[in-house]
Amino acid sequence: MAELTDRPFPPDDYPLIVVGSGPGGLQVSTALRGCGIEHAILSADAEPGGMFRRWPFFQRLLSWTKPYAPVVRGTRPYERYDWNSLIPNTDENRAVVAGLMDGTSYFPSRPEMQAGLEAFAQRTALKVRYDCRWTATRRLDDGRFALETSDGEYTAGTLVFAVGVAQPWRPASPGMELAAHYADTRAVEEYADKRIFIIGKQNSGFELASGMLPWAKRIIIASPSPAKLSVNTHSLVGIRARYVQPYEDHVLGGGVAILDAAIEGIERGDGDVPYRIITRRSSDSVEMTFEADEVIAATGFTAPLLDLPDLGVTTFGQSRLPGQTPFWESSTVPGIFFAGTIGQGSGGLKKHGIPSNSGAVQGARYNARVLARRIATTRFGIELDRPVLERSSVADRLIDELTDGPELWHQRAYLARITSLDPTEGIRDEGIQPLAWFVDAAGPDAIATTLETDGTGAVYPVIYLRRSGAITEHAIDPDPLLNYRTDSARAALDSILAPVLA
C-alpha cells in the first residue's frame, strides 16, 4: 500500500490537469511549472516516453541530435541541432539526449530517446501519476471538467491533453481488416523469404520496407498518389532520406515495386497465396491483383480523444486531430488545450504548403512553452515577464534570434519573436508567439520576426510589421550558410524596421 499512497496526484480537484507522459506531456508540465501553475499530470503508461517506448519499429529515430555542432552543446543555440531533448526551465539539463547517445549515429536509437525522456523527468524531478488511465470526460455545471480515470474522478478548470497521435487507423476498404497494422508488425525475421504488400507511402511504410529489404522476397508499396520525398519537398513533408532505399531498389528494378493505385479490397487466398490484393491503378483505372504472404497497413494513426468529441471538440482529417486555435485550445470547447504531437491540428499559416514541425518533438516542445505562458496569462491571471528593450538594441536582438533562436528555426512561419511598440509601455519583448495569431490579432504597433522557407530549399528571415492595425510582410534575402549575423542582413533589417523604430 505504501507504493500506492506514494503516487502523486491522487483523485482530487486541481487547477489544471495534463494527460500524457510522452514528450508532449513532460514538456508542457515543465513549462507550466516554470510559469508557476499548479497542476496534476496523469498517464496510462507505467513510465515516461509515450510512443518512444514502442516505436519506431526499427528502433532508430528520424530526428537528429548532432553530437558536434557549430555552437556549444547544452546552450540555447544548440537546440537547433538537437531535435530530441526536452527544454528545461533553467540552463541545467539541456541537451539530455545528446549526453546519452553512444556515438554510432546522430539519429538516436529508440532506447536512447526513451532514456533521454526518463532522465529528463528524473533530473528535473517531474512528478507523474503513472498507471492512471483517463477513461471519460464530463462537463460540470460550473463549466469545469471532470475526468474519470482508472484511479477515480478528477476535476479541473483547465485540461491539457498530450495523448499523442498513435492510435492505429486503417481505411474502410473491403478486407482491410485482414491487413496487419504497422503497430502490429512482428519481428523482422518472420518476414524472411516472403512477399510483402505494404499499404501507404508515408514514412512508416517506407521504414518497414527499408527494414525488410534484407529479408523480404518481394515488397510492393501501394497507395493512390505518388510518394513524396523530403529531399524534393525541401521540408519534412515526404519520405525522409533514411528511408529512401526502397525507392532506389524500385527504380533500379531490385524486387521492390512502388505503385500508385487505390486498394479496392483484400481477399484471403489459400495454400501458397495467403492474400490477394485487388487494386486499381490511379493513372488509367486498370485493375491489378497482387498475391502476397503478408499485408501491412502503414496507413497512419489517429488521436485517441475518447469522448472529447461528445463534449463538442470538433475533429478533422484522417488523423482525427482536434480543431484548435493558434494557441492550441479547442476551437469549440474553451478550456481544453492540446500539447505534443496533437498540436499539429493548429496548422498555422502553412505558407507555401510547408507545415510546422508541431508533429515532432523539435516543434512541439516550443509550442508547449508558448501554450504554458498563454494559459498562465489568460486562465490564471499570472503576469509574466515582458522585458523592456532599448530602442538601440532591438535590431541586434532580432539578428541574434534569426541566427540562433531555436523556436524560429524549428517552427518556421509558425512561431515568431514578437516585439511590441506600444507608446505607453515602451518597446517590449513579448516572447515567442504563434505567427497565425499575430497576423490576425489587433494590437499596438509590433514586429514579428520569423524564419521561413518556400519549398525551394532556402531559409530566410521574414519580418511582419503591424502599423496602425495593418500587417505588412518583408522578406530578407537568404544567406547560403544560413547565417544572418551579416552586414547585408543587418542593413536589410534596419531598413525594414526604420519606419517603426524611427
Binding site: 481505411p171 474502410a172 476498404s173 497507395s223 493512390p224 498518389s225 500508385d260 493505385a261 487505390a262 486499381r280 491503378r281 490511379s282 483505372s285 470538433t314 475533429t315 478533422f316 482529417g317 484522417q318 482525427r320 480543431g323 486555435t325 476551437s331 469549440t332 496548422g347 499559416l349 502553412k350 505558407k351 507555401h352 504548403g353 510547408i354 512561419a413 497576423v439 490576425d440 521561413e452 518556400d454 519549398g455 500587417i471 505588412t472 510582410e473 522578406a475
Partner: protein
C-alpha cells in the same frame, strides 16, 4: 471529419471533378489536406505570400477586399488559384462565415496537379471565365 474514400465520394459530386475516375478522385483526396476554420477566421490573407488552393467542402466563405465583402463562396467552390497562377499575393481576404471545412493543395503543388488533371484544369478555366463574365456584367 472524413476519410479519403468519403472525401473522394464528395468530390465526385462537384462539377470541378466531374470528369475524374474513382481512382483519380482517391488520388486527389490523398493529395489534398483537410482544414477546418472557425467563424471569422481568415483562410487567405490579402497581400500575404504563400497561400494555397482551397476547395470548400462544407460551409461558406466571404471574399473581402480591404474589409468590404465582394463575394460569398459555398460548397464545391474554390479560391486561391488566381494568386498561385499569377505568382502574386492574394488581392482579397477570404474569411470563414461560420464553421468552414476545406480541402487545401499547397501553392507549389498546384502547377503539377493541374498538368496531371487536364480535364479539371479545363473546368477550372470555365469557372474562371464565368467569374470574369459576371464581373464584366456588373461593370457594364
Amino acid at each position: 471529419m472524413a476519410d479519403e474514400d468519403q472525401i473522394a465520394d464528395e468530390l465526385a459530386g462537384f462539377a470541378l471533378f466531374a470528369d475524374l475516375s474513382t481512382p483519380q478522385l482517391q488520388g486527389v483526396a490523398h493529395a489534398f489536406e483537410e482544414s477546418l476554420f472557425q467563424d471569422e477566421e481568415r483562410v487567405l490573407r490579402q497581400g500575404m505570400t504563400g497561400g494555397g488552393f482551397f476547395l470548400i467542402m462544407d460551409g461558406e466563405a466571404s471574399v473581402r477586399v480591404d474589409g468590404e465583402e465582394r463575394a460569398r463562396l459555398g460548397r464545391g467552390e474554390f479560391f486561391g488559384e488566381v494568386s498561385i497562377l499569377l505568382g502574386e499575393p492574394p488581392v482579397a481576404d477570404v474569411v470563414a462565415v461560420g464553421p468552414l471545412r476545406c480541402l487545401v493543395l499547397a501553392g507549389p503543388a498546384v502547377h503539377k496537379f493541374l498538368l496531371a488533371h487536364p480535364s479539371l484544369m479545363y473546368r477550372m478555366l470555365q469557372a474562371s471565365a464565368r467569374r470574369l463574365r459576371n464581373a464584366n456584367r456588373w461593370r457594364s
